[in-house]
Amino acid sequence: MTVHPPQPGPGLTVTPYERPAGVHPPLDFAQYRSTALRAPRRPLVLLPHRLTEITGPLLGAERVTAADADLTAQHEGEPQGQRITVAGRVLDSGGRPVPDTLIEIWQPNAGGRYRHAVDDHPAPLDPNFTGVGRCLTDSAGRYRFTTIKPGSYPWRNHPNAWRPAHIHFSLFGRAFTQRLVTQMYFPGDPLFFQDPIFNSVPEAARDRMISRFDLGLTVPERALGYTWDIVLRGRGATAFEQPDGHR
């Protein structure tokens, strides 16, 4: 295979992505016990954005069918639980939609049980619910899933620990730098106060993980609606968190 020498570099310029402050949780967060042996101890090394970081996998169309966005229609019968629509937009911090980007979600069933061999929570599995969905955002960055409201479940992080109800979201954006895995929560969950994963995020940013009940998104006689916009890092250092900026 021919390997061409790289072009001379001095003419090459790239626009880096912003570096968020006060948004993401620290890796080392003692209240979440699983961090103890897994969070790196040495400082992270600053990686200026070069070609590998400003590009990324543009995947999806061949991996997604329309049926993948309806988690209530993947089996013979319908799953137990409250049907919901979860929809919103994927934007960058400059307010630009992120179109054609792959979103993958996974969640437990209405009783708080994941369809996973390691989940030993003694709530029943639902033969009609797998809990996995995917879709591509449209040209305006919009996405939409139909699913059931996930249950809360106990875990062993601390005595009588319970996870607030949540749906896991995985997003690619358009660059390695924009890759994001997060969790979407539901408004008014009484379990937030005792959850170290939710509370690992700086206080001012926690509400960004909570969806909003949206009557306009409900499907009458069918499903409740929750709206949640997801915001990925944008390009350029100056776009970050301008108060009352344009959209």
Binding site: W106, G131, V181, P243
Partner: protein, 188 residues
């Protein structure tokens, strides 16, 4: 109001129901001319395997090009996916089958040695951790690489160079999240 960035949260222990793809580890199909395999284990601070992690890779093609419109040199054709994804097994192991990437021009001058960007997700990681794989047969290029040079400590930087196996097409890259051999992780 300007949209506010969404925070990261851990993938948790059950990512295996949602994220693995059947073809994930195969950036190129097995048996592709020139294919290499990168294998290794993800290990925690006690040296124990991490059996519930996900390793993702992103890289240039063998000519040092990306199938992406934001590459200022122009996008390469869509022939090479560039992306690999593999969940770890019970022994913490993963593997990625791919082609060795080419070197890259670095903005402002200089050259980046062939490398893969790597993300690791797992229960206990509230955000992904990002590292890089470099190649053991690229000594002079690695010496000149601006990212390896920025690490300062050559012994630590060496954690980013894969180890050669008896078969030159099989490289070993262990990822130590913590401990004496802790891998270099980047603030990306």
């Amino acid at each position: 109001m300007t949209p506010r960035l969404t925070p990261s949260q851990t993938v948790g222990p059950f990512l295996a129901i949602g994220l693995p793809w059947r073809d994930g580890p195969f950036v190129v199909p097995e048996g592709t001319d020139g294919a290499i395999t990168i294998t290794g284990r993800v290990l925690d601070g006690a040296g124990d395997p991490v059996p519930d992690a996900l390793v993702e890779t992103w890289q240039a093609d063998p000519d040092g090009r990306f199938a992406h419109p934001d590459d200022p040199r122009g996008a390469a054709g869509r022939g090479f996916r560039g992306f690999g994804r593999c969940p770890t097994g019970p022994d913490g192991s993963y593997r990625i089958v791919t082609l060795k990437p080419g070197a890259l021009p670095s903005p402002g001058g200089g050259t980046e040695a062939p490398h893969l960007d790597v993300s690791v997700f797992a229960r206990g990681l509230l955000d992904r951790v990002v590292t890089r794989v470099y190649f053991p047969d690229e000594g002079p290029a690695n010496e000149a690489d601006p990212v390896l040079a920025s690490i300062g400590d050559p012994a630590w930087a060496a954690t980013l160079v894969a180890r050669p196996g008896p078969d030159p097409a099989r490289l070993r890259f262990d990822i130590h999240l913590q401990g004496d051999q802790e891998t270099v992780f980047f603030d990306v």
